[in-house]
Amino acid sequence: MFFDSDLFLSALRALTPILLAALGGALCERAGVFNIGLEGMMLMGCFTAVATSWFTGSPWLGVLAAALAAAAYSLILAVGAVTLKGDAVVLGVAMNLLAVGLTSFLLRTVFGVQGTFDDPDLVGLPEIAGFSPLTWLSWAAVGVAAVLLSRHAWGLRLRGVGEAPDAAATLGVSPVKYKYGAVLASGVLCGLAGAQLALGNVTLFSENMTAGRGWIAVVAVMLGRALPLGVLLAALLFGLAEAAGFRLQGLGLPQQATDAAPYVVTLIALFLTTAKRRRKTGAVA
């Protein structure tokens, strides 16, 4: 069997970091902040998680520190794009570059190694019923975000701030406060994504280890139209393509073809969904 439960399980493992980051991106999108700094925030989370787990011996403290560090890092976007009204795209690109430089710099000054820090004494996250606790958390987060955005006053105000900031302001809802909230929440989620990547999927830190996952999360937000369930499906599609790729590799397809598969599948999915939306609305996007 090609599509068996093993394939599905490995897809679920691969998808956790992307899902967490994409949920953060979706919250920002809903609040009207285009966040392409997910990759950098996640990388900061990876490094903080590994460093904290190494020095304290506790992966849980690592997870907590990663969430806090990435949230602090996300303030660059909040201050730059919301308060100073800077360009969010440029800020995001700069944050991603800064994270690569900063974590590589710290890797060398703190650990004295170049490339990869990998030590048998580094403690990773335990598994609960076959999955990392952060995987369970990510599924819970999908539900919470879905309910929050569609039912709770906070979520409705957040959407209002994103769609009509002036109208929200006249109703006494501070757009700045909600936008900051969304960006900080995305920071926390990306920090958790990074912790999952560096203490769950593997137990090490290597330079630029996020390797484009933050960008995939940006695409998942777009593909899932910033809906929590949509984002879950989009991330699942990517995870399945990746897992299927590994499987095909076993059947003799070159590794490079399977490396490329998730990106091609995502691009095709984008084609299909935008084409469908166009037919429905009759608009030329």
Binding site: V90, L91, L98, G212, W215, Q256, D259, V284, A285
Partner: protein
């Protein structure tokens, strides 16, 4: 605001009050804090950056790095001038390199003609691939930012496949093509590593300057960047313009790829074109200069100095060279936070 200097301000005052100057100074100051934090002497470290990159030992290396950085900066500045961001530079660069390597290895023509053909093949490969990203935007409504980025990964995989199987050097343990035949290379200046590639990239910069300043196409490009609704109203067709600008952008990225293959190490080695991060450095330079031609050249030189100088800083002060990458990003963080203030005023809320 400091970002909209009046016509009466003296040039010196304008420089001091420009956001670019502020960002660079702020980044250098923060870098000094980092250096003090690691126990290094900031003056010695920055001194090592300058002597290492501009001294007689380093200038050749700075110009070689500068060739690639400037080429990629131009590639990304040209669409940026019209408000488009091409995030697929790596893919276009790598395809340019592998196309140049394939032509260089298999063309039956004499060496000089093969070299020229290889450069053209590299440019064509990059241009076609970038045009594909533009088509995704125009025809299928996938935003250019995303389409160019997503296409970049499969391109790198394709090149990686080609260099591991059909084009692999027999018997080598590295994923690399054989060395190009004798004479299939860009002529170097004297014994240095600086090649004709620098001249080609410099010519591209001059061409960009002239087109930007003197032609209708350049005017349309700048106006689209400032206010795309206005130019659409005035009859500039967005689709064909995007396609053209992306093709030129990809061609330049492909040029950088072919220059990288047709000079040392005279072969395509998997990952060697993208590892130094020319695409991102180039994008940073283009952003710093707001895609203005002269500014892009200056910013590229500045970043090449940082990149090469970082190595000698590491040798003399034991401060990791990654610090220069941090500085580069900090410049753009500061700039991005201040830049939009002017853009917004001029553009209204086009992006929203």
């Amino acid at each position: 605001m400091a970002t909209t200097p009046t016509a009466t301000a003296s040039p010196a005052a304008r420089v001091l009050r420009s956001p670019v100057f502020f960002s660079v100074v702020a980044a250098v100051a923060i870098g000094a804090l980092f250096l003090i934090g690691t126990g290094a002497d900031p003056l010695a470290a920055y001194g090592a950056v300058l002597t290492g990159s501009l001294g007689s030992d380093g200038i050749g290396s700075t110009l070689t790095t500068g060739t690639s950085v400037l080429g990629m900066a131009l590639a990304l500045a040209i669409p940026l001038r019209a408000g488009l961001i091409n995030l697929g530079g790596d893919g276009q660069l790598v395809l340019g390199g592998i196309a140049a390597a394939a032509v260089g290895l298999y063309s039956p023509l004499p060496a000089p003609l093969t070299t020229a053909l290889a450069v053209l093949a590299g440019m064509a490969a990059g241009a076609l691939y970038a045009a594909l990203a533009a088509l995704c935007d125009i025809k299928f409504g996938v935003p250019l930012l995303v389409s160019s980025l997503l296409l970049s990964y499969p391109a790198a995989s394709l090149a990686s496949y080609l260099v591991r199987y059909p084009l692999k050097e027999p018997g080598s343990s590295l994923p690399q093509t054989p060395r190009l035949p004798e004479g299939v290379e860009l002529p170097a200046f004297g014994t240095s590593t600086v090649t004709l590639g620098l001249v080609l990239v410099a010519l591209a910069a001059v061409a960009y300057y002239l087109v930007d300043a003197r032609t209708a196409v350049g005017y349309e490009m700048r106006m689209t960047g400032l206010n795309s609704r206005f130019t659409a109203y005035a009859g500039v067709r967005r689709g064909p313009q995007t396609l053209r600008l992306m093709a030129v952008s990809g061609a330049l990225a492909g040029l950088v790829g072919s220059v990288g293959v047709l000079s040392f190490p005279f072969r395509f080695l998997d990952g060697s074109l993208t590892a130094p991060g020319y695409t991102w450095t180039g994008l940073t330079a283009a952003l710093l200069a707001a895609a203005a031609p002269l500014g892009t050249v200056l910013a590229s030189f500045f970043f090449a100095v940082l990149q090469v100088g970082g190595l000698s800083m590491e040798r003399t002060t034991e401060v990791p060279r990654e610090l220069t990458q941090v500085l580069q990003a900090i410049v753009i963080v500061f700039l991005a936070a201040r830049l939009r203030i002017t853009w917004r005023r001029r553009k209204g809320d086009v992006k929203a």
